[in-house]
Structure formats: structure tokens, C-alpha cells
Amino acid sequence: MKQELIKLIDLSRCTACRGCQIACKQWNELPARQTENFGSYQNPPDLQWNTWTMIRFQEREDQNGILQWLFRKDGCMHCSDAACIKVCPTEALYHTEFGSVSMHEHKCIGCKACIPACPFGVPKFNAATNKISKCDLCYTRLQANQLPACVLSCPTGALTIGEKDVMLKKAYKRVKELGGDASVYGDKFLDGTHVVYVLPEKPEVYDNLPTDPKMPLTIIVWKDVLKPAGLLVAGSVVAGAFLHYITHGPKTPEEETTSEGGKLS
């Protein structure tokens, strides 16, 4: 068992150079596609099957009316209590020894259950392969003691990866330095994610970033209640039927008419 890793994204150091976005595409051989300008530097508009990570560009005015230009590297959070893994019918999605969420591509049947399950909107469907496509934190690189492509490409130190405890300590130290509204995002929900942010602003400020991400209640009802109930209830019915038979007995028709087919009226 190798150690649990955390990839730290320190947004206070991100310059939105998008090196990570390109490095990710290059290493994972994800093609670029024609996009349209929608009035933002952000490109593409959202994560896609061929874009596992991207920088979100956001313009906003703070409480003093000063314009802010916020950058956020979006992508898989690699949750410990991962909804995508919980709903996957074939165990295609799984936790690696690093705590990251990877996928056995040959096991994916393209059922798309993980798409609405994810609180962060990460898994995307590739219609050409009929499979889900998402960041695996460069699993093969981690296995070879290499940095994930995005981390390797980052010129400012916004992206770093390391042992869980060390990275969390580093994150809290950085938040203390930044002060103000800065916070650590990721260690307090879904049993801790393996991608953790240092957010210079409050979480609710960022577009497409849930302030309180959690395992959807519907998945808890589905997987922790109804799934075992399916077998328990059916089992109880079978047991109940047997008990009914040996105690109350069957409802047998009148004897006279069962043997010879019955009298004619």
C-alpha cells in the first residue's frame, strides 16, 4: 500500500497560463476540438470527455466594487467517499492505492450513472467509445514515481502533490499567510478529497464550485437502503410464504370438484 496523496491547488499562485490544461491533453492524448468564443478567456466552456482539467475564468466585483479576475483549475476532486464509485455497476471506477479515483476502461459499459452522481460534474461521456472519460490523476505516472502532467507543467508552484498530511499542513500554512477570506477546500467533506484547494476567496464566490458538496441523498437511499432492501424484502416474502404454508395452510379447492373435473350444471 502506497501512501495517500493529495494534489494541492493553491489558487493564490495560479496565473491561468493553462499549462496544466495543455499538459493534461498532451499526456493523456486527449484531442482538442473546435470551440467558440463566448466572451471569456475560458476555453472550452466546461469540462469535456477530451478536457479533464481546465482553468475557469471569472470576472466579479468584490464588496468594495473592485474588479477581480478569478482563476480556478477545475477537474476531478478524487473523493474518498466517491459517489461515482458508489454508483458504478461494474466496479469500473475504483480507488487506487494513492486514494485517487481511476477507471478500468474495459469495464465501463457507458451506463452514465456516474454523471449525475458526481457533486462536481466531472465524469463526461465519450459517445465515440461509449465510455466515461475523466481525470485519473495520471495514475500510470504516479506508479512510476512521476508527477501528474498538470503538476509537472505548473510554472508557479500553484500545483503540488505529496503525502496527505504534509500537503494539508502546507495548505493550512498558506491559508494563514493569505489571511482574509482564504480557506482550505476539500479536507472536510466526502471523507476528504485527494485534490485540495487553497481558495483566496470564500468558496461561494467561485463559479461551479459547490459550497457544501456531499454524497447525494438519493444515492444513499438507492445504494444503502433500497439495494439491501431488495433482497431483504424478497427474502422475507419467501420465508413468510413458507411460514404461511406450514401454519395457516394453502387455500385448497373443494374436494368434490377437483378429481373428476366437476359436475355439469
Binding site: P89, E91, C111, P116, W222, L226, A234, A241, Y245, P250
Partner: protein, 221 residues
């Protein structure tokens, strides 16, 4: 066929019944193969989990059409409760759960069967709708999609449980019932015990069909 048997169902009814029953069973098995990881071997049997998914999805279309026919042909007889006798029957649990001196007489379908009809039609419809949305999720809100998975699982719990109740009753629980869905002919004794009011109604309306009756009547002449 023995002389004196009473006609309970027509061939079309029986075909619809078995279309619903077998496709429902097929969907339960293929669905469980995906719901429970320990049953993933069901996928192996059909050449992989992706095949299993496709069989489940297309099987669902067959079920949907069968269910539609079932609802159309049975909703009048099995979908509408007739009071007060159905209520009295329910209060006595049809004599199935405790000793009842005289079980209230009900028509062709007893309230238990009517409840089964409702469970299958209602939850069957829920399964079809939620299944189609899960199959073609494009354009639906995340909250809607998440709800569909819950409904699909809930429908399974209900239908799977009812399946075993049904199976018990038509085999050893109420002997003599099964031929109604195989040959279509049941014994007079069975009808007298299970559906006495229906027998009286048929005799009164002259709709009772007894096997060999015409022939034997001819013999007498």
C-alpha cells in the same frame, strides 16, 4: 381436457400474461446483475456487462409494450375495486392470514389480485419511465436523473417482492390457480372456492363456458 372444466382466460390474455411475466423476470435478473456486484457473473453469461446493459434496456421495451397490453385488457376487471365486498374481503384478508368463518364473496379478481395488478401497473410504469430517462439522460436536470435511479430501485424492491407472493400463491399457496394461465381451464371447485361471486355472475349472465358441456348435451339428445 376434463369435462366440466370452466374457462377462465382466453389465449390472448395468457400470451400477454406470459409476455409481462417473462420479460419482468428477465429484467429482474439482468437488472440485479448490474445492481449487485456479486451478481456481475450474469453479465459474463451473456458476453460482458455491456451486453447485459443492452439486453436489459431492449428487454425493457418489450416489457413496456406487454405492460401496456396488460393494463388495457385487465384494468376494467382487475383495476377497479367494487365496494362493499372488496373492502370486506380486505378486512378479512381473504381468509389467507387468519381463520375466517365465511370469506366475503368477490368477483373475477379478488382485492389481493387487484392490488397486485395495481402494483405491477403502477410500479411497472415507473420502471419504464425511469428506465427510459436513465437510458437517455440527455437534457434532464441532475436532480431529476438522481431521482430516477431511486425510483428504479424502489420499483425493483416492490415488484421483486410481489413476484414471490404471486409465485407462492399460484403454486402451493392456492392450488388449482396455475392452469388458468396455462390451459385457461380451471375446475369448478377452484372457482367456487376462489371466486364464488364470479361463478354466480357467469351462471346468471349465461357467460359460463364449461368444457364438453355442449357435447354431453348432444349425447343426451
Amino acid at each position: 381436457m376434463k369435462t366440466g372444466m370452466i374457462k377462465a382466460t382466453g389465449p390472448f390474455e395468457r400470451v400477454v400474461h406470459w409476455c409481462v411475466a417473462l420479460s419482468c423476470l428477465f429484467l429482474c435478473i439482468t437488472g440485479m446483475g448490474m445492481m449487485y456486484h456479486s451478481l456481475n457473473f450474469v453479465g459474463t453469461l451473456v458476453g460482458g456487462m455491456e451486453n447485459l446493459k443492452n439486453l436489459h434496456n431492449y428487454g425493457g421495451i418489450f416489457f413496456a409494450v406487454s405492460l401496456l397490453f396488460a393494463i388495457i385488457i385487465w384494468w376494467k376487471e382487475a383495476g377497479i375495486f367494487s365496494f362493499p365486498e372488496d373492502l370486506q374481503w380486505i378486512l378479512a384478508a381473504g381468509g389467507y392470514l387468519w381463520k375466517v368463518e365465511k370469506v366475503p364473496e368477490v368477483g373475477k379478481y379478488n382485492p389481493g389480485q387487484k392490488m397486485f395488478f395495481w402494483a405491477v401497473s403502477l410500479f411497472g410504469t415507473i420502471m419504464v419511465v425511469s428506465g427510459l430517462i436513465i437510458w437517455f439522460p440527455t437534457g434532464y436536470a441532475m436532480a431529476t436523473l438522481r431521482l430516477m435511479y431511486v425510483l428504479h430501485a424502489l420499483g425493483f424492491v416492490v415488484i421483486f417482492a410481489f413476484f414471490f407472493v404471486h409465485l407462492y400463491l399460484v403454486t402451493i399457496g392456492a392450488p388449482g390457480s396455475a392452469p388458468a394461465m396455462f390451459t385457461g381451464w380451471v375446475t369448478r371447485g377452484w372457482v367456487k372456492t376462489q371466486h364464488p361471486k364470479w361463478l354466480k355472475e357467469m351462471e346468471k349472465d349465461g357467460t359460463l363456458i364449461v368444457y364438453g358441456q355442449k357435447k354431453s348435451a348432444e349425447k343426451k339428445v
